[in-house]
Amino acid sequence: MAKELKLMKGNQAIAEAAIRCGCDGYFGYPITPQSEVLEHLMAERPYLTTGMAVLQAESELASINMVYAGASTGKRVMTSSSSPGFSLMQEGLSYIAGAELPALCVNVVRGGPGLGTIQPSQSDYFQTTKGGGHGDYRLITLAPASVQEMYDFVELGFDLAFKYRNPVAILSDGVIGQVMEKVMVDDYKPRWTNEYIEKNCPWAATGHRSTGKHRIVTSLELEALKQEAVNERIQAKYRKCEEEDARHEAIQCDDAEYLFVAYGSAARICMKTVELARAEGIKVGLVRPITLWPFPTKAVAEIGGRMKKIMSVEMNAGQMIEDVKLAVGCKVPVEHYGRYGGVIPTPVEILDALKKMVK
């Protein structure tokens, strides 16, 4: 069976992609609006076909620590949650980053703070891109804007996680998680064999004794100088990641005088506003960051630098705007437009905000 066209929810696409790309294990705990991830996995029962383990853990703390353990053995493991649950995982993510392990975590964001609401939001941008846990670490963060990207970013996420031996986050939200769209799914890829892991992951604790060398997975180093060296190694990876893996999409920017910067579902809504605004003669374009960390600073600086004004449109009170401002320096005025607490801005209200800014 080759590629196949399906109609799926974003959450289901995450689960389907995990099975098809050869993920070894999923550990999670249900929470709206991402429960379809675990639901779809349980319905598909990949443990009977590809051998992928699927486990509903007793809590988010358990889930992320199961991911920590699985990742230590060189397996491709993942979890998913939504904002309050994702907060509970921050300690584990810091440990995984500190131990330099690859792992994938999906956050289908809902409105906060606290238990907040179950409606879509983008209010976890700071937490995800600036480090929700302790210590000098980063989460490589992918921001899907369609069901197809929900699907594609699972395998991409694993690839980046193993390239940098660092946790990767897919930062989605209730709109992209719940919407059904067309998605082209790949043929099933086999999971990595133990021999493959042994050969390609010399750091993995596989229980293999032939090398005679202990493989120790830890995030603890009591000597400060040694811990500094660990940090230097981690930071070098991050500089490489910033150089090689910042991604974005530019839409109708060539002749634009004004620019939206928006990611995920906000970017989709802005695409509609671009259409409406151009019908009224306002030349506006859109830069959609695909990686939120590393932020596509060069692209935003280069494209944004040509604009009269920039508007950062987010489903939060103004978080990504800080990275947009850092990218363009003080050369171009940057404004924010946002709704929060689970309210989705409409294309027309963004158009109204744009008209005010243009005036």
């Binding site: 109609l7 059904m180 769209e181 989709r268 509609k272 409409t346 294309p347 027309v348």
Partner: protein, 183 residues
């Protein structure tokens, strides 16, 4: 072609599945589709709505506040979505339970008395397909053949024997559609 549709009514009326059938049928015709439910603490008897978009081009926003077509199945949804139809657009509603009929003069309005008809001939479970028929009569964006294929895709196999009844209900909807205010 881009058709932006909101279908709104009570939970349990088949609002979401009507949207799903449209989406599947759209895929069969090589269209881009998007299906976004209102999700929340809704339950049977509460309000439920879904935004369905079918297009020949890449779909921008799956979330909209203006629609080419509103299919409205209760008074709460009429209050909320009558004003959301684009000028020149289409509003189809079931008058059952509607106390305030639509007042707009700049859109096309049709009635499809699906609830009454469904209970009259004892097919209340096919209520949503009668409504869908009414819509397809005004905007035949989906062919009968594709609709059948869409039903096959969206229904579990154990329900496939019900497909002929579903198609029949769509035909009934086309017959009972009545213009209310046409430009």
């Amino acid at each position: 072609m881009t058709e932006e549709i909101i279908i709104a009514g009570f939970g349990g009326q088949g609002v979401l599945s009507m949207g799903k059938i449209l989406a599947y049928a759209g895929i069969m015709q090589d269209k881009e589709v998007s299906w976004l439910p209102s999700y929340g603490p809704e339950m049977r008897g509460g309000t439920s709505n879904v935004t369905v978009i079918l297009s020949d081009e890449r779909i921008c926003s799956p979330y909209l506040n203006q629609f080419d077509t509103a299919i409205i199945l209760n008074q709460q949804s009429m209050d909320k979505f009558e004003s959301a139809v684009k000028p020149g657009g289409l509003l189809i509603y079931d008058p059952n339970g509607i106390t305030e009929h639509p007042k707009r003069k700049d859109i096309n309005i049709y009635q499809v008395a699906a609830a009454d008809k469904a209970s009259e001939i004892g097919i209340s479970k096919l209520f949503n397909m009668i409504v869908l028929g009414g819509f397809l009569k005004v905007k035949p964006i989906i062919t009968g053949e594709m609709l059948e294929k869409g039903l096959k895709k969206s229904l579990p196999e154990r329900h496939h024997h019900l497909i002929p009844d579903n198609i029949k209900a769509v035909e009934i909807g086309k017959e009972i559609l009545k213009p209310y205010h046409v430009l």
